[in-house]
Amino acid sequence: MDFEYTPEEQAFREEVRTFLAENLPRKAERGTDFLATWLAKVREKGWVGFSWPKEFGGSDGGLIEQTILREEMALAKAPPLGTSFMGLAWVGPGIMQYGTEAQKKKFIPDILDSKVTWCTGYSEPNHGSDLASIQCKAVREGDHYLVNGQKTWTTGAAFSQWIILLTRTSFDVEVKHNGITCLLVAMDSPGIDVRPIENMAGDRHFAEIFFTDVKVPVENRLGEEGDGWKVTVSALANERSSIGEVTQMFGKLDTLKALVKRTNRQGKPASKDPKVRRTLAVFEAKIAAMKYNGLRYLTKQIRGEPLTSETSVNKLHRASLEIEMDDFAVELTGQSGLQLKGGSDAVENGRWAKSSLNWPNVVIGGGTPNIQRNIIAERILGLPKD
């Protein structure tokens, strides 16, 4: 057990820090072309798709270097390394694993160069947590599939150029997981209708998508027909380690502490209130637990030992923190905490009020807490399936 980094790893950390010092101006000093310059520079460094194989344009970055990169980026509150979060997180890895040579050539460079943004068409109105029951239909007709059906809660649908789409190609199966096929679909295909949905925070992050006789060339099928579930599951397994998240959450905890220090409750400093102190410490304990859980799992990965769904542990912590930290700030600041951007007494221009309403992005997307509990109970503790 040791928490030291090798000289090479430390040198890499220094390299990232130096880069950030030189290329990440303060927010107020950022010009309109900042983001484009940033994306080009991190791309040039080989940090976009850092863990991806060199043959696909990545850097073959090792697990520890990946961790260092994420940690430093989060610490500096740097913008993302690419504009397509989902493209980098699972579409790209999915294509590298299951895609044809033509697909790799066509899609991978655009993801790395932030030329194309991807969204993910999994959930349907009647099939969310029970994803394998999807009904969106794709029928093979010669050299294309004809897609009919509906997706919903699709984050980023309104501004994405491509969607990774789960469809049902066979209804006549004993096991619902069979008969699912994964298609890569251009969002400007005729027959696609995107209708943004407003969420409770007033944002329009997600949308419902209607597919009416949408033609998808067979060459855009990812994996074999009927293998869509396998492709999806292994794509979702390409989840990022939680280390970057942990750094972010320690940062958020610091801003909460700063808020506590300048807030009064019942005429007394909130920082003296035992409940406030305890709540902050519980957050810190959970974030620290995520950190050390994450490092234990990372060590397992480095040693080549299999992980059995342990990442669900940190997802559950993340979910509860996502809800509780923002809610704590809103409660702490009383009626001011309710005011939104522009309110005369708004706290930090309504930042906490707003974010306290956006938790479902993290908590529901990617598997609800109850689904994570099922995963732990069934795969780790060996309890019978529902």
Binding site: F3, L280, K286, A289, L381
Partner: protein, 367 residues
């Protein structure tokens, strides 16, 4: 960067687990605890010969010279079956001599502690729930060649099975630890909820202690030893909580109600999943805290307060739900899960409950 155990450490864990399962199963624990002052000379000699009592004692003093992270692993494993052996007390007494003893005292005490020949315990605070130098109220009055102790030590873990007692006192020159032979004092065994953790109280009525048996300590030493105590207790909590979870999961797989194993119902399986999240989390926090003792002692206070602050509440919930999920059978004296509930309650105040540790986390974090 490596937050995992070595092969040697895994072998040590296996050795402890195997030995405890065979030599100290629950039937033995129940037999031992049915008597006053549960202890077994035979088991004690066996574990002494396996080297577990001298784990953190340097080789020059007859120990193995390993670190607290190794000790934590052993305590985790010995606590799985709620062994009543005073391994934790012996370890803390060794840590105290290492920290506070002079060369002569180290040379005198440590080999005997490592070999198990001397059985010792450490008692720091005299208040039921206050972890501060002010909570050391046993008074030392200077006399020729030493001090005279006057007062009461109400909470002395494993006092009955120990033959030497390391007691914190407050003298005119400050705090100190006094090593007292048990025959010099009156030890009263106190009836307590957890019979696997025998506790005594000691009355000291003008007890003379010679200078060679006194170790002066600073408030920082006291706090360090309390933090070591919290690490040791939390390590045991990891093992005991993990067993509670396994026991309850196994029961949920076998118990059929409404035609299905109860572990198939989300009301049951989700609670078990949450228990797993908690055990896994305070286990990670504890390993880090144990590592800090030897390798980053400046981080120890925050690290152990995060771990014990988390574990104290989580284990009590696990103990209650462990019994609750078993239904009425869990409530019976005959069934073992109730012993784990009692252990969870015992663990909570030991070296600080969650209120104490979480408040310290806030303070250390600048709040």
């Amino acid at each position: 960067m490596n937050f995992g155990f070595t092969q040697e450490q895994e072998m040590l864990r296996d050795q402890v687990r195997r030995f405890m399962t065979e030599a100290c199963p629950m039937s033995t624990v129940r037999e031992l605890t049915a008597k006053d002052a549960p202890f077994s000379e035979k088991l004690w000699d066996q574990i002494a010969s396996l080297g577990w009592l001298g784990l953190i004692v340097p080789e020059q003093y007859g120990g193995i010279g390993l670190k607290w992270i190794d000790l934590a692993l052993v305590l985790e494993e010995t606590a799985r079956g709620l062994s009543p052996l005073p391994i934790l007390s012996q370890a803390l007494a060794s840590a105290a001599v290492l920290r506070a003893g002079n060369d002569e005292q180290r040379a005198n005490w440590l080999p005997a502690l490592a070999s198990g020949e001397v059985r010792a315990t450490l008692a720091l605070y005299d208040e039921p729930n206050w972890f501060d130098a002010q909570a050391v109220t046993l008074t030392g009055i200077p006399v020729d060649d030493g001090i005279e102790l006057h007062g009461r030590k109400p909470f002395v873990a494993d006092a009955m099975s120990s033959n030497q007692l390391l007691l914190a006192y407050l003298g005119p020159a400050g705090l100190g630890l006094a090593a007292i032979g048990k025959s010099q004092v009156k030890v009263t065994e106190e009836p307590s909820m957890d019979v696997t953790k025998p506790t005594g109280s000691i009355i000291l009525d003008h007890v003379q202690v010679s200078a060679d048996r006194l170790m002066p300590i600073s408030p920082e030493d006291l706090a360090y030893l309390a933090d070591c105590g919290a690490v040791a207790v939390t390590a045991e909590m990891v093992g005991a909580a993990d067993t509670t979870l396994t026991m309850t999961s196994n029961y949920a797989k076998e118990r059929i109600q409404f035609g299905k194993p109860i572990g198939q119902y989300q009301g049951v399986k989700h609670r078990l999943a949450d228990m797993f999240v908690d055990v896994e989390s305070f286990r990670s926090l504890l390993y880090y805290a144990a590592w800090c003792i030897d390798d980053a002692v400046g981080e120890l206070p925050r690290a152990i307060s995060l771990a014990k602050g988390y574990a104290s509440d989580a284990f009590v919930r696990i103990g209650i739900d462990g019994v609750g999920l078993h239904g009425a059978i869990g409530f019976t004296a005959e069934y073992d899960v109730q012993l784990y509930l009692k252990r969870s309650k015992w663990s909570r105040p030991m070296y600080g409950d969650s209120d104490y540790h979480l408040d310290r986390v806030a303070t250390l974090g600048g709040i």
